[in-house]
Amino acid sequence: MYRALFTYVVAIMACSLHVHVQAQEIDFGDFYNYSITVAELNPGEDLDFGTVIEGGGIYSIAISNSKVITLTGVEYLDVIVDITADADLVNTGICSGSCSIPFTLEAAYANLGSDNIAQALIIPITSNSGNAQIPILRRINGPAGPPPTPVFEGFDPSVFNETAYLYLYGFINVGVGVAAGTYEGNITVSVIYD
């Protein structure tokens, strides 16, 4: 009797697996309206290449001088970070001739609880676009343990808040004949719990 029941259960599970392959991953962030905060570590500061000379070629901003974005959320959850940047910085004034500068984005993150570029991991960026699934707090002792505390009345997930750090940097290529003036572009960062 027991053997028959077990066979029946296995058959049902096999059917379910065929339909729900992605059910092998449990997205804990789906089960509650957790909040996450995205902010600038130094508000108001641009990723500023400063003054460059027409025809000067490559000007880089290293990770050590990067624009730092903080991602504050529940430490045991993962977030998916999408980053896109304009391909060119564009002259903001009245401009004739060559009025754009190619921009190449680079990005990294540190998620060991501190703003430390020595702990940073590179986010692959292709054509100024990239994404990564980032635990707010890196699980240095291997895969996640038991499921987190279930949501209950009075549950305050902010108790488990931690901050991950996103580093945005890169380089521009100032070609010969680029018109003088101020150039601007944008990097957009989108974050959602996995």
Binding site: S16, T51, E54, V174, A180, V189
Partner: protein, 170 residues
Amino acid sequence: MQSRSSLFCFISILTFAFGNSLVHAQDESISGTVNVTTNVIQSIELLTVQNISFGNVQPGQQEIYINPVFDVNAGFMIAIGTPESDISITYIKQRELTQVDGEGILIFDYEITGNTEENQEASELIDNDNRAFRINREGRFYLWVGGRISLENALPGSYQGEFTIEIEYI
């Protein structure tokens, strides 16, 4: 023990059954924008339109003075750069001129004046006090070069020397 195994199987079935109908409690992503900026300036080009012309020195003449404001023999240069940007101008005020075919030396004390317009008589003396000047809307700044040479004890002949001026954005 057997009942525990059965219970595990039952829970597994429920998990798979509901897996496709979970409601995402937090579906909206948060976005932020970072500005990327730079300021492009042109390299500064210095054109020499006219060299200083001393003319012929008269016998017994003790000094040559080329007034950069009023003398038509003053040197004339144009700095070309980024329109309406601030620059600093520095130069070495005193240089030696050496005799081409001999060992004679003359001391030349330079005087330079500048103007945003091509108007020599309204040009202003540049005296290395690090004051800012401004390139005009057309990307030009005009410079006139004059100075004073003492001819006391000067040996006859031709003399030559260098003039160094440094212009940089500030």
